[in-house]
Symmetry: C2
Subunit: 277 residues, 2 copies
């Protein structure tokens, strides 16, 4: 039985790691690709080892292969190696050193600027561009593309972590990368070899996120308490304190100051070419 043969035991183990042993969902089909996704964990400490030649292009080919709204392809990606730019982005992100240390750092852009240039070159107005809808489509396009790159990277034995904290200052990120109006760094992504092994983080049970026919939160408080216990045990085992999910949500969303500038995102986006009508 080699690692390419997904087993029933492996499936149950993977589901238990993802949801906790008490919340394993009904068994379904399984294979190596799915097992790889179930094993995902975000990594914030990377070995300095370089990636194999062509890795970046393979990850972008996976990204290009994701669905994109009406084939508009309103995303782009910038690979950043320059240490000064990396340091500036680590500072924007509140001192996340892995941005400087990972062998590959990508900034994923929601990008309607390509369409704006097309409009200019063709002499045809694109009335749909200044809307929130266009920004949303571009952000979702960027997310679908990036997630394909993440799955590809992890299938190659690499690890990743998304850097949403680039949004603390999207104007400065745009300056650092010479972004044209209508392009914004939605998030970063560190890619490399994990420095230390780690444990899969348990998620909310399927009973809390999967609904049938209509949204039903009637049993949510009980389910949340159970998840608080599962996440609390994970956190304690991994030296992250005893807090469950409830305390962590409150810590993250309770006070405006935890937004670290992202409370000004509307104004910042308008300043770099997204009117958000």
């Amino acid at each position: 039985m080699d690692s390419l043969t997904p087993t029933t035991a492996g499936r149950q183990e993977a589901l238990a790691a993802r949801y906790g042993a008490a919340a394993i969902p009904p068994a379904g089909p399984w294979n190596e690709t799915i097992a790889g996704m179930l094993a995902h964990r975000s990594v914030r400490a990377f070995r300095p080892d370089a990636l194999p030649e062509g890795t970046l292009e393979t990850l972008v080919a996976a990204a290009s292969s994701a669905a994109t709204s009406s084939n508009l392809q309103t995303w782009s990606v910038v690979a950043v190696r320059d240490p000064a730019k990396r340091a500036a982005m680590a500072a924007i992100a509140g001192g996340q050193k892995h941005i400087e240390q990972c062998p590959l750092f990508l900034v994923w852009l929601a990008d309607v600027s390509r369409n704006a240039r097309l409009s200019e070159a063709e002499g045809v107005a694109l009335e749909g561009l200044p809307y929130l809808e266009a920004f949303l489509v571009a952000s979702v396009d960027a997310a679908l593309a990036a997630q394909n790159a993440v799955v590809a990277a992890e299938s190659l034995g690499l690890s990743t972590v998304y850097i949403g904290a680039l949004r603390n200052d999207v104007v400065r990120v745009a300056e650092l990368l010479d972004l044209p109006p209508g392009a914004v760094g939605v998030f970063g992504l560190c890619v490399g070899y994990a420095a230390v092994p780690g444990e899969v983080k348990p998620r909310l049970p399927q009973s809390m996120v999967l609904h049938h026919e209509r949204y039903d939160a009637t049993r949510e408080q009980t389910q949340r308490a159970a998840y608080d216990a599962v996440l609390g045990e994970f956190s304690a085992r991994n030296g992250m304190g005893p807090d469950g999910w409830t305390r962590r949500v409150i810590g993250r969303l309770g006070a405006i100051k935890a937004m670290a500038g992202r409370d000004k995102l509307v104004a910042a986006l308008r300043a770099i070419g997204f009117p958000l009508k």
Copy 2:
């Protein structure tokens, strides 16, 4: 050489299908998972065959395994079987019959309502919730989760298509699914067995979407003309008319009326619990 052994010839063929023969990127690492992603195509005609038992739960397990901002998990998903609800959503989406015909239809939610209920139950205000940032995080969370489900589905031999046109009327979708305030259907997803074989759609060349250190669009007009030719040939071969990318972008974004209601998304989101501050 079985289908589980990715070959160099297979890689070049897959990259040529994705980018056109004249824009194949440098060769990089390759495996079965990546080959599966490269073979993606959106499908809008499904066989009526039911999915294997447990497929939905496996897809959601893959979705749960995607990264999520600060582990907030601000997404949910509703599986819709009811024919009347399916028909209503097909109508919202401009008559997309595959919404009624596919064996599994999922509506992916950007969902901060779970955090709002937590706030209420714990008696702690969550000041971060009413911001555009929270909506964006939730939409990106939903996209990362959905894309993992898509990769999982395709690895099982299933096909998919995203339905962004649910955003034509997010208020009505919220009514149909009894969504609480702070939950919105960002897009739908049809899942099933493709009724007909199809061809991979070529995307913009990597030279247009992948930048190094800084954004560089200096050669874009030439590159766009080349992609217009590649996409035009694909479209002609597949009975979709001779238009290249430029004409299609103008058709999609040129006039407000092509937005089919999505020009009112800001007001609609505010009506269902997203102040977008």
